[in-house]
């Protein structure tokens, strides 16, 4: 969708890959397509994906015996229970992203807490933070800031390595940052100790 005052509009469907204008149904075809807005041409392949149908069984259909009603939709038969709060839920309420079934409110909560890996869409990149902190520490070591920046780098690198392992990414860059952090902390600590000893007159 075209931008308005620099703010990107939410995604509404297939767009022109060059001007971002929303494409109408007549432009969503297979072959060479010309954008009606910017007249740019591009190669396209259109699909008509089938809609997945939700199977909802009503309590009346399941019969009185053994049919538990959904906690949110009393007419629907529960298909499972929330693994966090134990509520009976129907297939409409079943929020399952491959790590078990959750009811909508528990799903929102675990997603906000960040404990549900597959549902996490926004997170801090500790590896990048460790690398930036390592560079900053190296640049400001002459100002006796090696120790705090080194400690910060070690902290971020530790979290970054755990995060990268969890995500299945390479930990090499973060490990190098960790090495720099250790060096900065030791060198920074030694520099401060050297100055203190010098001030106290214990250095000859």
């Amino acid at each position: 969708m075209a931008t308005l005052a620099g703010k990107k509009a939410p995604y509404e469907g297939p767009e022109c890959p060059k001007c971002d204008a929303l494409l109408g149904d007549d432009s969503r075809v297979t072959g060479t397509v010309t954008c009606p807005h910017c007249r740019a041409t591009f190669e396209a392949t259109a699909f008509n994906p089938p809609q997945r149908r939700m199977q909802i069984v009503e309590v009346a259909q399941s019969g009185p015996e053994g049919a538990n009603a959904c906690a949110n939709h009393e007419r629907n038969t529960a298909v499972t229970s929330c693994q966090r709060c134990g509520l009976y839920i129907c297939s409409l309420c079943d929020m399952n992203v491959g790590s078990g079934s959750f009811c909508p409110s528990c799903f929102d909560r675990v997603r906000t807490e960040g404990t549900l890996g597959a549902a996490t869409t926004r997170f801090r990149d500790y590896g990048s933070m460790a690398r930036v902190s390592a560079v900053a520490g190296f640049l400001f070591m002459f100002m006796f800031l090696g120790l705090p920046f080194g400690a910060l780098t070690i902290y971020y690198a530790n979290k970054g390595i755990k995060q990268a392992k969890n995500e299945g990414r390479s930990t090499l860059g973060t490990r190098i940052a960790m090495g720099f952090g250790i060096f900065e902390a030791i060198a920074g600590g030694a520099a401060i100790a050297f100055v203190i000893l010098g001030v106290m007159g214990k250095l000859k």
Binding site: Y11, G13, P14, E15, P17, K18, L23, R28, V33, A40, T41, F42, E43, A44, T45, A46, F47, N48, P49, P50, R52, R53, Q55, G98, G117, A118, T120, T121, R122, F123, R124, D125, S128, M129, V132, N166, E167, G168
Partner: protein
């Protein structure tokens, strides 16, 4: 823990970086903005349109060209101020600084960038290839094949569940023959 994924491309933007991965059931995009990673997915089952085009990247060419021209201009300015002697020792450092920017601008203007855009029902993904044009075609073909495969499997699944749901035809006795 995220499912097994393969990195298929990445592109740098003015204020961040986007890395695109292939998952067993879709495409995953990780956009890095400052120190925050924003992750979104386009499922193969949901894909409505896939496009392939080549673009130049107008602003990249203009900005790189301007930076290169700026360094060149300073070099020329210094050389013109130098009235006697050999000009090359003064010009060379500025030429060295200008060269990568001018080369980047020229390469981008000549080669362009291959862009694959995948539009789903709720999200979209873009993969950019600057140098590996052959790989761009391969990735485009592979994504098309995987989308077709996923949507065919979903169609079959829906058809199978529809057959299972259909009530059995009651047996009606035939009328007696006369």
């Amino acid at each position: 823990m995220t499912p097994a994924r393969t990195r298929i491309g990445s592109s740098a933007r003015a204020f961040g970086r986007e890395t695109v991965y292939e998952l067993p059931d879709g495409i995953e995009i990780e956009a890095t903005e400052n120190y925050e990673v924003i992750r979104r997915r386009v499922l193969f089952e949901d894909v409505l349109l896939i496009t392939y085009h080549r673009e130049m990247g107008f602003w990249f060419v203009i900005l790189s060209g301007l930076v290169g021209a700026f360094f060149l201009f300073i070099g020329v300015l210094i050389v013109s101020a130098q009235r006697t002697g050999n000009a090359w020792p003064y010009l060379t450092p500025w030429l060295v600084m200008a060269f990568p920017f001018l080369l980047a601008a020229a390469l981008r203007a000549i080669l362009g960038v291959e862009v694959i855009s995948i539009f789903g029902r709720r999200s979209k993904a873009q993969i950019r290839f600057t140098f590996r044009k052959q790989r761009a075609r391969e990735v485009y073909g592979r994504i098309l094949a995987r989308v077709r495969q996923a949507q065919k499997a979903l169609e079959n699944e829906i058809a199978a569940s529809a057959v299972a749901e259909m009530p059995a035809v009651p047996e009606v006795p035939m009328p007696p023959a006369f």
